[in-house]
């Protein structure tokens, strides 16, 4: 049951991305292209997602614990640091250039466009590189 529900979560997420058009990099880039071929659809995706997630999170976290874990793993940090801003800024540049972010890129992978395969390969490399740098930095302190 546990594994089945996790699989359903992944499927729902991927299906949502496909239905909303977000697995199409052209649509994402057009959202960012306000002075060109602007397509505001992405704002509706975020709106729809937040409209469900906000009350949903509130409701389920009122329970003592999740169904298959002892605690809710919620981020507790509230400070703004340079790392957050730098990381988000770098991420945004790549997102604009490629029109892909991690969820849509993985979802689009089975469609096997050459560009998606290249993007996912270098994305995973970038993630590992970032982890490695952070790991070394933290273990030096």
């Amino acid at each position: 049951m546990k594994n089945f529900l996790t699989l359903i979560s992944g499927l729902l997420f991927g299906f949502g991305l496909l239905l909303s058009g977000m697995a199409d990099p052209a649509k994402v880039q057009n959202f960012l292209d306000v002075f060109g071929t602007w397509d505001p659809s992405l704002a509706f995706v975020m709106g729809g997602a937040i409209a469900v997630t906000m009350p949903g999170f509130w409701l389920v976290t009122r329970r003592n614990k999740p169904f298959f874990d002892d605690v809710f793993h919620l981020p507790s940090r509230t400070d703004l640091d340079a790392r957050l801003i730098t990381g988000a800024a770098i991420f945004g540049v790549g997102w604009g250039l490629g029109g892909f972010c991690p969820g849509p890129a993985i979802t689009a992978l089975p469609l096997a466009a050459e560009g998606s395969l290249v993007f996912v390969a270098t994305m995973l490399t970038g993630m590992a590189a970032s982890k490695y740098v952070l790991h070394r930095r933290d273990s030096r302190v």
Partner: protein
């Protein structure tokens, strides 16, 4: 390249993404942040109980497009650039930046904003702004 404005489908698809995030929170108490789930699987790995569940979630993501094709009889509409060096660069930046900044569009943009996290709101505004500038430069300054 123009794409069709799809407010209703996008709203509906967004709702499904939200339902997925709520389901993951209800069952495992985890944020549905794709960059976090992916990067936890990559080296250097730490002992993490959530790893097998993360893998199953990713398998679900990968099964979505084949299932879509099985149901609709055709592949979803998609235009991926054939500029491979550009996509390679974009991938590195997205991968590096999402781990460095603790999240991507799903973790910060959907889950974080839904929790009214100040960090996620700032991160989302930041990547929207730099993404906007990147597309502006790509299409209108250096573009054909």
């Amino acid at each position: 390249m123009e794409t069709e404005f799809t407010p209703l489908l996008s709203l509906l698809g967004g709702g499904l993404i939200g339902a997925s995030a709520v389901l993951l929170m209800a069952t495992h108490g985890r944020i549905a942040g794709i960059s976090g789930i992916l990067s936890r699987m990559l080296p250097p790995t730490s002992k993490d109980r959530s790893l097998p569940q993360g893998l199953i979630f990713i398998i679900g993501l990968l099964l979505a497009a084949p299932l879509w094709i099985a149901i609709n009889g055709q592949a979803p509409l998609q235009t991926v650039s054939s500029n491979l060096p550009l996509l390679a660069l974009a991938g590195v930046l997205v991968g590096f930046g999402s781990v460095w900044g603790n999240g991507c569009t799903s973790g910060h943009g959907v889950c974080g904003i839904s929790r009214l996290s100040g960090r996620s709101i700032v991160a989302t505004l930041t990547f929207m702004s730099t993404g906007f500038v990147a597309v502006l430069l790509l299409r209108h300054v250096f573009g054909s």
